[in-house]
Symmetry: C2
Subunit: 480 residues, 2 copies
């Protein structure tokens, strides 16, 4: 049912987002710590699910976890030329500690290429020491001016992978393996968020990278959200931090390094892809609670009868699905329905005295609010029914998001078409412009080149802006 406490998407998409974050109890602004949030239990549980799925994939691709210090000597940030420009303006600095002024300030890590580069230079001597394949889960801090829960916060949680290799080919293979096998696979299979795998333009790449790859998702307002990035750092950080090795011909060479990360920003992507005007919608593979069972009764007699059935029905659920029996006595069924709708639980099962008599239960799908998603289902075989339904919901959410993206993506051949299309969604366009051209388009339209999709034909075309012939197509969109 519609919620008074949630602004509709049609009315004000930005306010709707903030309302969902508040009403689903995902996070709260930490107004005493500038730009930071408190991750509340429902929000943090989603992050834990994300971590588990990502960590499995990161380990399955041969990486180990490790942990480097929170603080980085300020001088480290200054060592890689592009990196300085990108990060120095937004660091938080520790200048006093233990009651004394520090001779050299530390910065709280905005990302860890520099401090990790320092250690890698100590650890690598020979080609036999390579590759180094490490990842860390941690908090980072960037003093952003305009913040928004999950999407852009001063402190956020993430994983950052950092690897070192003997040559460009191996570094490039690593960068793409993470993009495809870890990030895109996780986004599509677990989050049910379709993503475009692409290369960033020079203007949009990571400060200090040779090439940055990304996955880009489309939100329900047609805007893009960069959901993960994987960078081939070339030899830039290896030169800045002197990460060298002796190769098989006894020659000293600089390593090729990569870095890659996804963050709690993904919670924002999740909300803005699937949720609706009634609250959060979670894909089953990521839902901390997949099924909530609400027993319904009016007196002790009914209670005993209903709870006997509930115990029987849920007996084999443990270990097979993540569930909760909401048997709180101080809330009405209607209040409970509302709360679990807000929190995005994929399936609600209702069991009342009549259901017990009929040998059935009511099953409501969160992704199809109202009557369309509600059915009466036999108690016999219920567990298998629910497991199948969970998978069906997972697929349905992905398909819905994919259809939405297809509907909101169009090929444009003129600058006017581009300007019109970015009001709706993604504009696919031939592109042969310069970084200066990109900046002008951004100034004029607030759209940027989200990426150069990796999956594209070689068919020639005409650049949407310069009119020059080219085979390269890009996606323009406004972005979060």
């Amino acid at each position: 049912m519609p919620k008074e406490t949630i602004t509709t998407r049609a009315l004000d998409y930005n306010q709707w987002y903030l309302d969902i974050v508040r009403e689903a109890d995902l996070a709260e602004a930490a107004e005493v710590v500038r730009g930071c949030i408190v991750f509340k239990a429902t929000g943090y549980a989603i992050w834990e699910m994300m971590q588990r799925e990502l960590d499995n994939r990161i380990k399955a691709t041969g990486h180990e976890n490790i942990y480097f210090p929170l603080l980085i000597p300020k001088s480290f940030i200054m060592k890689e030329a592009e990196h300085v420009d990108g990060f120095a303006p937004e660091v938080a600095e520790v200048t006093r500690a233990g009651g004394e002024e520090l001779a050299e300030p530390y910065v709280i890590r905005p990302t860890s290429e520099t401090i990790i580069g320092y250690f890698y230079s100590k650890w690598v001597r020979s080609y036999r020491d390579l590759p180094l394949l490490y990842n860390q889960w941690c908090n980072v801090m960037r003093w952003e001016m305009r913040t928004r829960p999950f999407l852009r916060t001063a402190e956020f949680l993430w994983q950052e992978g950092h690897t070192a290799h003997v040559d460009e080919a191996e570094a490039e293979a690593e960068t793409l393996r993470i993009l495809f096998d870890v990030y895109a696979d996780f986004a599509e299979q677990v989050m049910a968020v379709p993503v475009i795998r692409g290369l960033k333009t020079e203007k949009e790449k990571f400060p200090g990278a040779l090439r940055s790859y990304c996955i880009e998702a489309m939100m329900q307002d047609g805007r893009a959200l960069q959901s993960g990035t994987s960078h081939n750092l070339g030899q830039n950080f290896a030169r800045a931090f002197d990460i060298t090795f002796t190769d098989q011909h006894n020659t000293i060479q600089h390593c090729w390094t990569t870095s890659w990360g996804v963050s709690t920003r993904l919670i924002g992507a999740l909300i803005m892809t699937h949720s609706d005007d009634e609250g959060l919608v979670l894909p089953p593979r990521l839902a901390p609670i997949q099924v909530v069972l609400v027993p319904i009764y009016k007196n002790e007699d009914e209670r005993a009868k209903v709870m006997e059935a509930v115990d029987r029905l849920t007996a084999d659920w443990k270990g097979r699905l993540r569930f909760k029996v909401d048997d709180r006595d101080n809330f009405t069924p209607g209040y409970k329905f509302n709360e679990w709708e807000l929190k995005g639980v994929p399936i609600r099962v209702e069991v009342g005295p009549k259901d017990v008599e009929k040998g059935s239960v009511a099953v409501a799908r969160r992704d199809m609010p109202g009557k369309a998603g509600k059915q009466f289902v036999p108690q016999v075989g219920l567990t298998d029914y629910l497991l199948t339904l969970l998978e069906a919901i997972q697929v349905a959410l992905f398909e819905r998001a994919l259809a939405f993206r297809s509907d909101r993506t169009a090929t444009v051949t003129t600058y006017d078409e581009l300007k019109a299309q970015i009001e709706r969604g993604f504009a696919l366009a031939y592109w042969d412009g310069t970084t200066e051209d990109e900046k002008r388009i951004q100034d004029e339209t607030r759209a940027t080149i989200r990426c150069i999709p990796l999956d594209q034909s070689d068919a020639p075309g005409i650049c949407v802006y310069t009119g020059r012939p080219t085979t390269r197509q890009v996606i323009f969109a406004r972005a979060y």
Copy 2:
């Protein structure tokens, strides 16, 4: 076999500890960040195992995870009188961010009672909102003067639980539930480290607590290591941060709060309880790798034969035990044995051509180095044999540590006896002294009262220091 790179415990226990940390590749001093370490892959994997086991217990006792900001307004630290004295001298301060001086500095959390107190005061209105049962996993920072890997580092990783309750009885029950059902259970059942559950004296309690409880373990040099603390904070933080609720009689009251934590210090406790002069020794329930299988062969022919057997033997290991087949071609079996001994893997299985012929394998226990721990075992039934042996090793490590502690614990009745006993281990003594008496004993002996054990008789005795009659017994020891 003895390792040249490891100083023996008998020669220099402190150096032995540092050698183990280095040789097992657990951590490395991050000399460019004062007092911090890099948690390397082997060390971090142990922390991940600890986190999983602790997190299960924390959730099983009804708590949810949540995440509060890293930074705390400096003024917050000043609000609780004892807390200021305890933590203000050792905080790291952020005074600049985003290129500007901050009007009010932030401190990096040394512990989060204050910032969490601030939010709890917003979240709690009525007794119906209570209890709040939250935990967070995070990094914290205390600018310590003398640091030591895992045991005392400027930045460390931990979990901190923070709960709020309607009255003292409920807060006390929570404090003790954590001490017994989470911390002591984890230490003894998973780490195989026997611990004494006790109450801290006024002198040793947490700054701002009403009562602090702890688990204390004995290291192999007879010194104590505080391995976890659980604090009943009374109404101290509720008063400082105005955490109030309306009770059932419509009266406004202050909450009773608790906090409790264990940290990466536990890795130090683990090392110093079980490890030996040959390297790390890990209890099976905590070992990231429980069994390492080393195939042995001299040529391709033998290799094929051995690897066929290895594949067959390990076919049903997945999901039943955590294992690694070390089939690296560029290292000798001897090198591999040495490496896995250093890293503490509980069981090594060797399979060579003769073993294949005989239908047996060689099994070596890490907790019994040399011939005593090595046996030839039939290939038939090997998986069950290993599972049983892992449990036997788990028990044996606990029993050995318990026997060691018993041997090094003695009741003392005079101050001279106390002084002699703390050279060996724990001194159990009747105690009726003051905080001033405790300080004098510490100055004279470097021993402190580790705790007042909760498990003690009411039998009367004479205070070891004042000569006054009392029924209270305490444990004196030197501590890490």
